[in-house]
Symmetry: C2
């Protein structure tokens, strides 16, 4: 196994989207004097993610970047909660997804991995979202690749193969690191190497996540520092 580059899923794998979004929703609520169950709101917002991308993947929607899919869902949820604010406030809240905090090990682990490998995002988030996030959080990417560049959302094979092609490496020289087995299985089916990173708190304390079976992926890691250890970085 010769790995030349590592591609990272981002939401949940690199950053703790749930705590970050809940915190920003609470702040939004205080600013605008509105109240609801913000944790549930965050989960409902995230729950709109896969169905919206699936509409693009099936061709029911033309290519639409994630910021716009997020915004559509946000407007529905605000309406449902009876919350009325101006467009600028909605735009700002929608950019909560640009301002997600990394897991505590993410920056240190990526910094180590970058010494040995080319490290890139491979996220369904759009390029500006990922760039703004990296700038704020100090994520040391070598480059920022996105479904937006390939015009295919993961788990379409074009996203994984496009990533290998644009990095000029063979699919089996590229390893996807992700906390989500479905993403990794699609990458593996496209010919990539796979590293599962365990993020048991992605969905908060109330949902217990389990590790996939040992042996299903090339590497199993507890966090990015463990991943660096296991990849010799």
């Amino acid at each position: 196994m010769v790995i030349k580059a590592l591609a990272f899923d981002v939401f949940g794998t690199v950053v703790d989207w749930r705590s970050s979004v809940i915190g920003q929703l609470e702040s939004f609520g205080r600013t605008h004097g509105v109240e609801t169950d913000w944790a549930q709101f965050a989960d409902d917002w995230r729950a709109g993610y896969v169905p919206a991308m699936d509409r693009v993947r099936r061709g029911e929607l033309p290519w639409t970047r994630l910021d716009d899919l997020h915004r559509g869902r946000l407007v529905e949820l605000l309406d449902g909660a009876g919350i009325t604010v101006g467009d600028a406030a909605i735009d700002d809240l929608n950019r909560a997804w640009h301002r997600l905090d990394p897991w505590p090990d993410s920056v240190a682990g990526l910094t180590r991995l970058k010494q040995r490998y080319t490290i890139t995002t491979l996220s369904n988030g759009n390029v500006s979202l990922l760039t703004n996030m990296a700038k704020r959080a100090g994520l040391p990417w070598d480059c920022v690749l996105s479904a937006e560049i390939f015009r295919h959302y993961k788990p379409d094979p074009e996203a994984y193969l496009g990533c290998a092609q644009i990095l000029d490496v063979a699919p089996d020289e590229l390893m996807l690191a992700a906390a989500h087995p479905a993403d990794l299985r699609a990458a593996r089916d496209a010919g990539l190497r796979t590293a599962f990173v365990f993020r048991p708190r992605e969905h908060g304390p109330a949902r217990t996540l389990r590790r996939p079976a040992e042996g299903e992926f090339d590497v199993m890691a507890d966090d990015f520092l463990d991943l660096a250890d296991k990849l010799g970085a």
Copy 2:
């Protein structure tokens, strides 16, 4: 003038392609025991750049990334010089363009500019070339954008407008920094802001380059530190 992001031309503007390529050609010559006028060879190699891209721009060639355009020209020049080496040696020499040294002020200037602005490449070099170059030279890009992503070589307007769109800024919130007036004029025609950076040694000591007229571009800078001064970074 509200600038949110800076896009940089790379060859000649950020890196000293000519000295770097000549040095690598000389090393190649020593390794393979072959001799020619390597400075002329470098200039001839670079001289193939615009005509090859123009064939892509006119639709005479399908999209072809710069590595492959460079390699085609390299093979012609090696043939012309009567130099025969294996494919792996040609591939390695072709990647000389991935290993270009920055101008002495580039890293320090970009590091300052990055504090205040989003900084990206906007080069005709392909993504893997730019990523490898940045990794080796320590160029601190926020993201790596390329003609390859937009499938249009500069000076096609699609490259400049695509860059603004993917960064989610208006064209006039994006400034192109370049050492080449033709690149800047095309960016200006597409609605971008422009910064001329003077790189008098780009073509070596024998060619005298002149500054464009004062007032033609939004900013005129002697190097990246001066650009940082003038942009308040």
